[in-house]
Symmetry: C2
């Protein structure tokens, strides 16, 4: 899944260059490329599909030159994760009705790749030839309020539990209770199932969406596929797979572990997981000289220099023609700032 717009990381990410396409850590590979590289170790590259917005086809093919154009599924509109997954499932089903399927966001970070890939391989076995649905749950290391949680009930096999509930983002007090209980895991947004299982779940729980894609079943993989998707996709309900399917489905399990996972959802989460200088400052890409500065995250284009004095707890980001300075604790306002920027005349250099 590579269709996000990443406005929370503006101006580092922009509409024309969202988070998944950025080389966040200066490693030379974007998050999308890192995700592709990771799965390529256990999935034949020709079996990897990328679902994204039409606007991003060129950048996807540029970043992943191994891909055949047919491996990129193009959404003509943003409709959240449920329609995206229904579309991909239909396509996979048309190629192999007995396939098992991993769904993964393309803009997350995994630092413990071996553990992650072992879990995926185990998970694929666990959902193969049955009606099990599996999510990857992350053992919480802090009472994070920015994530959804999964409550586990009885253990089925080692580290795999039946899911009791999916919960929305909790407040801090609740998050602490969750963490202390030992029963709750972060919802990583990674799902595993057979295509038959997920298609059957859509048929039952989101019948309108299901009907749209099943109707186009014979067109999958043909030259007529895109025209059909362009027609039917915008009419789909805008709904997440968590809310539309997982929270209501039976046979949902969670495979739990610590994979060095982060959704990189906010500057704050990026700050938390980055290397810091002795004063708690994080510099991404750029050189930084700090004087009387604490707990800031600074991200400038490569080769640039930041000289900062007397700043505590700020996000400082420059990219292209925009500079953002914002308190870390107020970063939820960045979306609003971006909306305001979009209202400016001549905003094309900034959005």
């Amino acid at each position: 899944m590579a269709g996000g717009i990443g406005s929370r990381f503006w101006p580092y990410s922009r509409n024309s260059r969202p988070k998944q396409f950025l080389d966040f850590f200066g490693t030379g590979r974007s998050l999308l490329q890192m995700t592709f590289d990771r799965f390529s170790k256990i999935v034949p590259p020709e079996n990897i599909l990328i679902v994204s917005n039409k606007a991003y086809l060129d950048i996807i093919l540029e970043q992943l030159p191994l891909l055949n154009k047919k491996q990129v599924l193009l959404e003509p509109a943003r409709r959240n994760t449920a329609p995206c997954i229904a579309y991909a499932a239909e396509r996979i089903y048309s190629q192999n009705p007995d396939a098992v399927m991993v769904v993964a966001p393309s803009d997350h970070l995994i630092t413990k790749e071996d553990e992650f890939l072992n879990a995926i391989s185990r998970g694929l076995e666990f959902v193969s030839g049955n009606s099990n649905m599996l999510t990857l749950g992350i053992t919480p290391n802090r009472p994070e309020t920015g994530y959804g949680y999964i409550q586990a009930s009885k253990m089925t096999e080692e580290n795999i539990y039946k899911v009791k509930t999916f919960t929305e983002k909790p407040n801090l007090e609740m998050a602490k209770v969750f963490m202390d209980s030992g029963e709750f895991y972060w919802n990583s947004g990674v799902f595993l199932w057979s295509v038959k299982t997920i298609k059957s779940a859509f048929r039952k729980l989101l019948p309108d969406i299901s009907a749209k894609f099943e109707e186009g079943s014979l067109l999958m993989g043909t030259d007529a596929e895109q025209a059909y998707i362009d027609e039917c996709f915008p009419a789909c309900q805008n709904i997440s797979i968590d809310y539309g399917v997982m929270e209501k489905a039976q046979n949902v399990y969670v495979l739990c572990g610590d994979f060095g996972w982060s959704d990189l959802g906010t500057w704050g989460s990026l700050y938390d997981m980055s290397a810091k200088d002795p004063d708690g400052n994080v510099s991404l890409n750029c050189k930084t000289l700090t004087y009387g500065c604490k707990d800031n995250i600074i991200c400038l284009p490569k080769g640039k220099l930041a000289v900062l004095q007397g700043l505590e707890g700020y996000i400082v980001v420059e990219a292209d023609k925009s500079l953002l300075i914002c308190r870390k604790e107020d970063e939820q306002s960045i979306r609003q700032f971006v909306n305001d920027v979009a209202m400016l005349e001549d905003n094309k250099d900034y959005i």
Copy 2:
């Protein structure tokens, strides 16, 4: 005088592009050009000399295409204002021993141009054909601690006073006393005199410097001038005209007025005299959106956008490959920052 290096405005000004060459206010003209334009209204352009460092010849000729190369006097080393003025006086004397002379910094701002030019014209009359030395004094509008002051004694003619003392930068308490007394004026660094008068003052008060330039008198205006200056100039004492001559000379007068003058010596002074939004924020060149911000000064390259949240009393400057964020009240530290930047490896993009 256009030889300053302007490190207090780093990174907006840099060694390769000091303050006088910058279009500070986005008017399309640099401070040097504005100074040249201003004096051109009362001085024939061919009578304007620019004294600067050798490194800046190209940028001067580029910014002032009307100039003949011979009108640019090139210092091979920085030796403060006294040697600079001695050199210019010698050159002018060689062209016209009866000339009167205005000395002015090229990096100051004058917003009341008519009043200023009237004062200059009056001043030139006042020093013509006699041994008077005249400075321009600015009526203080605040107890500024960043300027030198001139104490006036009895009035000679309207707004022209005999000078009692020159004083260094006072502390705040003293500055308040100065201001309340009504006897003190800011020293603008603009001087008027006949070349004969200033040459005679040098002969008496700075005889070593005087001897060097008088010795090269016959070379002035010839092809041998630069070689002679390259030889003698570095050996001159490093001393200001205020300290070396004005504080000790007789017949020193001050012509006082309000010319909308600022030496633009610091971000703080630039802040004080710039138009502010209702929250007291100043934006130079760039677009700015502010949220919960007060009393900041922001200077980004033209066409750039700053989105700032939760900042109070900061300087935010970006230029080329450097970004500086610093509390206004700590701006005296910028020199130190620049020294530290100069110690970095690969500093050439920043200094």
